[in-house]
């Protein structure tokens, strides 16, 4: 246990010292800010027009209130999170190949799979912290704008949807790690993430989104406008996908030939 904590500490140290994690924090912070901006414009179209924030021909739809804002944030996390959480995973696993430091992690006095396990834990914690940060900033921005319809029911439900969407999106990052290891760097996993984003749009459009793992968080976030849909089969599909990513990455570390 102490050994595992040691390894996790080294992973956090490496991440903390790198600019990449902080850049993802800054990039993802744009989500609540842009959402808040959109809400502000919806709430005050005349002011926005006067300030030049709104084009003369702009046509805005939707309502400026807390439920809409929570919905917007959840959809942003479900879709943008695929990219951002996937990027964090790509970086934490792929950097060892790009920096060519992986060979120093292969013959150490503890089971070899401890390293990818520690990396998964680190990825999960960083991603969760990022989600908490985005949700926190969202609450702050919504408060500043003074959105209406604030009630304990509304924020509890909003928070529930945001947290579940975040967790579902984060745990879908495990296959990205396999692509980072097998592809020995960032390119393959980033390509995989982009491909899953495109496919999830297509599959959701033809009506099978609840069976395609990477479309499920978006459906739950009410991207289709049909409510927060989450079938039991969808949950199982997500967990099985995550488990496959996890086990295959650990197996790769344990059994593959490490030539690079």
């Amino acid at each position: 246990m102490n050994q595992m904590l040691n390894i996790i500490a080294t992973e956090f140290f490496k991440s903390r010292k790198s600019k990449v994690i902080w850049i993802t924090f800054i990039a993802f912070t744009l989500l609540p800010i842009m959402g808040g901006f959109f809400m502000f414009v919806l709430k005050n179209p005349a002011v926005a027009e006067k300030w030049g924030l709104l084009g003369a021909k702009a046509q805005l739809a939707g309502s400026a209130d807390w439920p809409s804002y929570f919905g917007l944030l959840a959809q942003g996390i479900a879709i943008g999170g695929l990219l951002v959480f996937g990027f964090i995973t790509s970086w934490i696993f792929g950097r060892e190949y790009t920096d060519r430091t992986v060979k120093d992690l292969l013959a150490l006095p503890f089971p070899r799979i401890y390293i990818p396990i520690a990396k998964f834990i680190t990825t999960f914690i960083w991603s969760l912290l990022l989600a908490v940060w985005v949700i926190g900033v969202g609450f702050f921005v919504g408060g500043i704008i003074g959105l209406p319809q604030w009630s304990s029911t509304v924020w509890e439900h909003g928070l529930f949807v945001l947290v579940v969407t975040s967790v579902l999106t984060i745990i879908l990052s495990t296959p990205v790690a396999l692509f980072a290891c097998y592809g020995r760097g960032y390119l393959a996993p980033i390509g995989f993430v982009i491909m899953t984003m495109i496919l999830s749009q297509i599959v959701a459009t033809v009506g099978y989104g609840s069976y395609f793992p990477w479309a499920i968080p978006a459906l739950f976030s009410n991207v289709s406008g049909e409510g927060n849909l989450l079938k039991a089969t969808s949950v199982i599909i997500i967990f099985v996908t995550s488990l496959i990513g996890l086990i295959s990455t650990l197996s790769y570390w344990r059994f593959a030939d490490h030539n690079g």
């Binding site: 010292k17 060519r100 120093d104 292969l106 013959a107 006095p109 059994f255």
Partner: protein, 308 residues
């Protein structure tokens, strides 16, 4: 003395390519084993198999009596290694990189980091980020990482790459000291033959994946060809004169007389005297000792096919 490193018929094949072919070698405690070979000869693949990074197709290897496998992680407690060019985390300083390795090996960082920084003369650079290190200092950092936990066995792949001449001497002396005072077993792969000849107590030559020769340093000295080269104004006549005196002399490809007999090499002045008396004084008399490089090329050329 027991074998600290032992391989038996170690083989690695990739489809139709035999990277390492039935390599069997033994390295005893405190020995410095020089593993010589051209680029692509199979040196790094052998080291990776010794470290369990790649699985052998057949055969086995043992370190300190323990069979090497990816699952047998206890072996690595006593093994320090550096495979190919060492790389460190670029955004971390020299000290931070070393502290990170300490954590992974569960070694007290304070004393160990200070010790290796001093040993590898990295004091000036300890707070410099790894991405700003010169190639030589990056190499020193790689070696420092391998030494942090004071391993009994060191596996070093081309450790003097990128070092300046003074650095090469320092590392050589450090490794020799570790072997002699602490009994550290050191396995060094290299294609820099001169360096290996200065440091190794035993040498293995690998070519096209096969270990074609394994010999002790003293044996190497005996097997190297030493010959006397002579030039005169009249080579044909001089050859006749020396042959008549019983010397096995021949004319080599560049028109010099060549004699490999022990007597001629030990007493070249005797041949000079014979030639002077016969009115064919030598214009050049040179004892040519085969260096390790020539020896190596001769060995792989003979046993491994044409190389040059």
């Amino acid at each position: 003395m027991r074998d600290m490193i032992y391989t038996h018929n170690l083989t690695k094949s990739y489809q139709d390519f035999q990277a390492v072919d039935h390599v069997s070698l033994r390295v005893k405690k405190g020995e410095i084993y020089g593993f010589l070979g051209l680029n692509g000869a199979g040196k790094t693949t052998t080291i990776r198999m010794l470290l369990g990074m790649i699985q052998s197709t057949s055969g086995s290897c043992f370190i300190n009596g323990q069979r090497v496998s990816a699952g047998n992680y206890h072996t690595w407690k006593q093994v320090g290694y550096m495979v190919e060019t060492p790389y460190s985390y670029p955004e971390l300083t020299v000290r931070e990189n070393l502290e990170l390795t300490c954590r992974l090996h569960r070694v007290q960082a304070n004393s160990a980091v200070g010790r290796v920084i001093e040993q590898l003369k990295l004091t000036k650079y300890e707070h410099r980020k790894a991405k700003h290190l010169s190639m030589g200092n990056a190499q020193r950092l790689g070696i420092a990482r391998a030494l942090l936990h004071e391993p009994q066995v060191l596996l070093l792949d081309e450790p003097t790459n990128g070092l300046d001449p003074a650095g090469i001497v320092e590392i050589r002396e450090l490794l020799q000291e570790l072997a002699s005072t602490k009994g550290t077993t050191i396995f060094i792969s290299s294609h820099i033959l001169g360096e290996i000849s200065k440091i190794a107590t035993k040498i293995g030559i690998i070519h096209n994946g096969s270990l074609i020769q394994e010999l002790r340093k003293e044996e190497l000295e005996k097997q190297r060809i030493v010959k006397l080269l002579i030039n005169t104004r009249n080579i044909k006549e001089s050859l006749k004169i020396l042959s008549n005196k019983g010397y096995a002399v021949s004319e080599n490809e560049i028109g010099l007389l060549e004699i490999q007999s022990n007597e001629a090499v030990t007493y070249p002045e005797e041949l000079a005297r014979i030639l002077v008396r016969a009115d064919h004084p030598p214009t050049m008399l040179y004892v040519d000792e085969e260096d390790l490089e020539s020896y190596f090329l001769r060995i792989i050329g003979r046993k491994g096919g044409r190389v040059l």
